[in-house]
């Protein structure tokens, strides 16, 4: 998956959970990635975050950090 597509998708998930209290929102994003993203996609986003995670919403960043 192109990085920009992956970032866009992850940010969309973050924007849904953004209305929730912070910890619940991070947990919501994290759960979504675990339940619906195939492992190689999760590896890709973890690698992306490891390299800085530019463009990712802060909620998505936090969730991905917990994912890895």
């Amino acid at each position: 998956m192109k990085s920009e597509t992956m970032v866009h998708n992850a940010n969309q998930i973050a924007l849904f959970w953004l209305s929730y209290p912070h910890d619940e929102a991070v947990a919501g994003v994290l759960s979504h990635l675990r339940r619906y993203w195939e492992p190689r996609m999760r590896v890709q986003i973890c690698d992306y975050v490891a390299q800085g995670g530019g463009g990712l919403h802060t909620l998505a960043l936090e969730a991905v950090r917990q994912l890895s």
């Binding site: 998956m1 192109k2 597509t5 866009h8 998708n9 969309q12 998930i13 924007l15 849904f16 953004l18 209305s19 929730y20 979504h32 675990r34 339940r35 619906y36 993203w37 195939e38 492992p39 190689r40 996609m41």
Partner: protein, 949 residues
């Protein structure tokens, strides 16, 4: 099986609870109050002669053939218009009645051609039958006087049926069926007295008229006046096979009337609980594709997509496909292959494919075309109510006081249910339509929306939030329902969110373009119902916030207590016949049948124990992920059953690149579809007429698909999957699809009580069907939600990232049209093309004028994804700034223009919002030129002579 002729009770059933007993010809019969004497007689086993009466329409009382004598009453009243009364004593036969009836028949026959032996209705003509019943032996009036025998006015313009006025007896059954059953009001009786004749309004003949070719008039006609051309050509059928339509999610029951292995006609089955004997132009008439010359009936393989196809034996094709998949897995890993099914496949077929992928392929890379239509329904309803399904049966609409249609166009996409809905609207139910376009339902004969909220595409969530804001802030919440049935902490949080001023209709108006006052008024109407029902379609789901919108609708229904009884609910109108079923069957990569996540150890163990292999606990790839992974080089093999992802999925160029990057694409289909241009193995599939199985419609109704013809390719689709699985090294043992359903029932709690025997006995059954509900569940969430308490979720409006710009100043939204279906593989190979030969671009007059575009001009449609060309249709149905097209024809390339943006939760493509520009064009687009060249090159089949060299 013999030819099935359902009982015609003459008049519709009464819904009254009070029972009335009376005596008919000495037999006592008890029927509901409001029943006609005619119907009561049929209940008592007595057939009263009739011509103008049929039980699909109200009594008319014009033919005077159904006269009876009633003790204590003067004269001979018509039994169709006379209602039963307690203690009534009715006589249906007497010398006086006999004489009267014979006299009436004499008059009818004096103006009817006596060509019975050569008439197409011979053997199935009610006029002929009644002449026999009344013992007509002579016509004293002769045949010399003025008559209507001239058949020069025969109208053969409709491709499927003809109208021969010479045979018309002016019973008005056709006119009344068009009004009462279909709700189109296209037919009328023109002229007076002897000059009276049936006429189709709005045109010079049936084809050019307002007629929508639903077939209700043909079915109602008691003579050969309106008759199917297939019957004229072939004669009457000799046996019937009751089966389920292969088109939309209404799932109509049909009788295939057969002569041997030849279909003579498809007649809607009166006992069908989804359609109650009604049909649309697709199911009723557009079945000729099943034997179209384009059918591929021999397996084929090729090494490269530029090679011509080579016909091979089934054994070689299956061996080759399995060998390629195993080679790919050996080289690129277990997760490098996967499979996709279509919602045109049966439950048993989709179940088997996901089983093969999980058990034989050893991964969870299974997906289905519901990904690109209703996957947000699954997410939204599962998270709020606890399961991924519509809450009601179709008949529930009969009790609705307010009907809110959101992002759906039922008259085109779900025509039979639309007729049902319109009947309720004519009874007085009030209508709200939320749609960017002025769909037919907004204003049609005797139906008008009280509010049409013509929002800007992409702002559904803004509208639903604004409605919820209105309801809460104006004190219209059904507090009792919320308190008893919902999670209060979640509700309180949601309530605080929704009453914020930013969610008010006034604050949302700049986004939606809908006057706040209209939103408030519509919200009040919905909230006050008292029974308000939401019906929605892909205009809800195919957005970047598709899942959020489904949640928003669920919130609204809970807020107003519109759940758990007749007349209410949240009802997805599913696009294809088995969208519900394919989702139920575990076709998504993250869940097993019955919507249970693959990570659940107990669930996984139950499948492992039955299937005998370890299963993966991680979700697999969705369709779009498979294509991305193919381009990345980690996904190399794909098995596709019945789906044409290249035409139906968005961003065609991206899809093409993905398919081209794969080493083995196996397509199992009726035709060399667009995806097959990039395939290496083609396995001939079987049409719905050629196999056994079940479909599950939008109301969770599981209905039988019964084989009427032998499969043209030699095998039913489930048998092909079994062969492939066996060749992959995972043996499957089934003798009949009923054994597959037995396995589904053993492994899926909501299907635990489903068997073919039960479906045969009940006609159909709605899941959940188990010990708690052995005969199924028409309405869900009656006392509690599947998840226990209903869950309100926050639905922040997030505008789509697909923005209009100077370069792309218009929004394109895509959809469907009545006469065509999905990618056109079926309807495109029928005479339905006379109504819709190509996809058109609908554009508002102002937008057209600004661009110098006239009606019928070819225009270039450009987005950031690509460009194609279409002819323009200037239409005030569109709002300024929004254009619309369909995706039924391959060459149109509507999805060349759509983008990769999708729903945040489910990856359902955002088909409904693409920023585009439209400009005049002199020629077809570059993509279309390339398409013509590529298509020709990739669909060649090696001639037999070359094979023998």
């Amino acid at each position: 099986m013999a030819l099935i002729r359902e009982i015609d009770y003459g008049t519709p059933a009464s819904a009254a609870r009070q029972q009335v007993s009376l005596e008919i010809d000495g037999k006592t019969v008890t029927v509901p109050a409001g029943t006609s004497v005619m119907r009561a007689a049929v209940e008592a086993g007595v057939q009263i002669p009739k011509l103008c009466a049929t039980d699909s329409v109200k009594a008319f009382g014009s033919c005077r053939l159904c006269l009876v004598e009633i003790e204590g009453r003067r004269g001979t009243p018509a039994s169709c218009t006379t209602l039963v009364e307690p203690g009534m004593k009715v006589r249906t036969s007497s010398p006086k009645l006999h004489k009267l009836r014979r006299g009436v028949m004499e008059l009818y026959i004096s103006d009817h051609p006596l060509d019975c032996l050569t008439c197409a209705a011979n053997g199935n003509c009610e006029l002929q039958d009644m002449a026999g019943v009344v013992g007509l032996r002579e016509v004293r009036y002769g045949f010399e006087g003025a008559n209507h025998f001239d058949n020069k006015s025969k109208d053969t313009s409709n491709p499927y049926f003809q109208f021969e006025p010479a045979k018309c007896i002016l019973c008005s059954r056709c006119v009344r069926a068009c009004e009462e059953v279909q709700g189109t009001f296209a037919l009328t009786i023109e002229g007076r007295g002897f000059a009276s004749k049936v006429a189709a309004a709005g045109g010079s003949d049936f084809l050019s008229s307002d007629c929508v070719s639903c077939g209700a008039c043909v079915q109602a006609c008691p003579t050969a006046t309106l008759i199917e051309k297939s019957v004229v050509e072939l004669g009457q059928g000799e046996h019937s096979v009751v089966t389920t339509c292969a088109y939309c999610g209404v799932g109509c029951s049909f009788k295939a009337e057969m002569q041997g292995n030849q279909v003579v006609r498809m007649l809607p089955y009166k006992d069908g609980k989804a359609n109650h004997g009604h049909s649309c132009v697709k199911g009723r008439f557009a079945w000729g594709y099943a034997t179209h010359q384009d059918r591929i009936t021999k397996p084929m393989i090729r090494a490269k997509i530029t090679d011509p196809w080579r016909e091979v034996t089934w054994e070689e094709a299956i061996r080759h496909a399995a060998s390629e998949f195993k080679r790919i897995q050996g080289r690129y890993g277990k997760d490098s292959i996967g499979g996709i099914t279509s919602s045109r496949c049966t439950n048993e077929e989709t179940y088997l494919v996901q089983k093969m992928i999980r058990a034989a392929f050893g991964n969870n890379n299974t997906d289905t075309c519901a990904r690109v239509c209703h996957s947000p329904t699954g997410y939204g309803l599962a998270n709020t109510f606890g399961t991924s399904a519509g809450t009601q049966d179709f008949d529930s609409v009969d009790a609705a006081d307010v009907i809110m249609v959101i992002g759906a166009n039922p008259t085109d996409a779900h025509p039979v249910f639309a007729s049902h809905m319109k009947a309720r609207l004519r009874q007085g139910a009030r209508l709200i339509v939320i749609d960017p376009r002025r769909i037919s339902l907004v204003k049609s004969p005797h139906v008008a929306a009280e509010y049409h909220l013509a929002l800007r595409p992409g702002t559904n969530v803004a509208i639903i939030n604004a409605m919820a804001h209105t309801i809460v802030t104006e004190g219209l919440t059904q507090e009792e329902f919320v308190k008893e049935r919902c999670e209060l902490a979640e509700f309180d949080r949601w309530r605080k969110f929704i009453i914020e001023e930013r969610n008010s209709p006034e604050a949302m108006e700049p986004f939606t373009g809908v006057p706040a006052a209209d939103v408030r008024a519509a919200a009040r109407l919905y909230a006050k119902g008292p029974n308000s029902a939401i019906y929605y379609g892909l205009g809800v789901t195919e957005h970047s916030q598709g899942s959020t919108m489904v949640i928003g609708m669920a919130n609204l229904a809970m807020l107003t207590g519109n759940l758990g009884r007749r007349g209410v609910g949240v009802n997805p109108l599913r696009g294809q016949n088995n969208v519900q079923g394919s989702c139920d069957m575990g076709s998504f990569p993250h869940e097993f049948p019955g919507y249970r996540h693959v990570s659940d150890p107990a669930v996984r163990k139950s499948f492992e124990d039955t299937w005998g292999v370890p299963l993966q606990a991680e979700p697999g790839l969705r369709i779009s992920n498979m294509i991305d992974a193919a381009i990345d080089g980690t996904f190399k093999g794909l098995y596709i059953q019945g789906e044409d992802i290249l035409q139906s999925d968005p961003n065609t160029q991206h899809m093409t690149a993905g398919l081209q990057a794969m080493e083995c694409v196996v397509v199992q289909d009726l035709f060399l579809n667009e995806t097959a241009s990039y395939a290496h193995v083609f396995l001939p599939g079987s049409s719905f007429l050629e196999k056994n199985g079940t479909f599950t419609n939008a109301e969770r109704r599981i209905s039988m698909v019964r084989k009427a013809l032998p499969p043209m390719g030699g095998f039913e689709d489930w048998e092909i999957t079994v062969m492939l699985s066996n060749a992959m090294g995972y043996p499957m043992h089934y003798n009949h699809p009923s054994e597959i359903m037995d396995e589904i029932a053993r492994l899926t709690p909501t299907f635990a009580g489903v068997t073919y025997e039960k479906i045969d006995k009940l006609g159909s059954v709605q899941w959940p069907c188990n010990d708690t509900a052995p005969d199924g569940t028409p309405i869900m969430h009656i006392d509690k939600f599947v998840r226990g308490k209903g869950r309100f979720m926050l639905t922040e409006f997030v505008p789509t990232d697909e923005k209009i710009t100077r370069r792309f100043p218009l929004i394109l939204t895509t959809g469907r049209i009545l006469t065509q279906y999905n990618v056109g593989a079926q309807t495109g190979r029928t005479d339905n093309n006379v109504w819709h030969t190509e996809d058109l671009l609908e554009i508002h007059p102002q937008d057209a004028e600004d661009r110098g575009i006239k009606d019928g001009d070819r225009v270039l449609l450009t987005s950031r994804a690509g460009e194609t060309s279409l002819k323009a249709k200037i239409s005030e149905r569109m709002q300024p700034g929004v254009v619309y097209t369909t995706f039924h024809h391959q060459f149109s390339g509507a999805n060349v223009v759509t983008t990769e943006f999708s729903d945040w939760a489910t990856s359902c493509p955002e088909y409904k919002v693409t920023a585009v520009e439209v400009t005049p064009a002199r020629q077809i687009s570059a993509w279309q030129q390339q398409y013509l060249e590529t298509r020709k090159q990739t669909t060649q089949i090696e001639a037999a002579s070359e094979r023998s060299r």
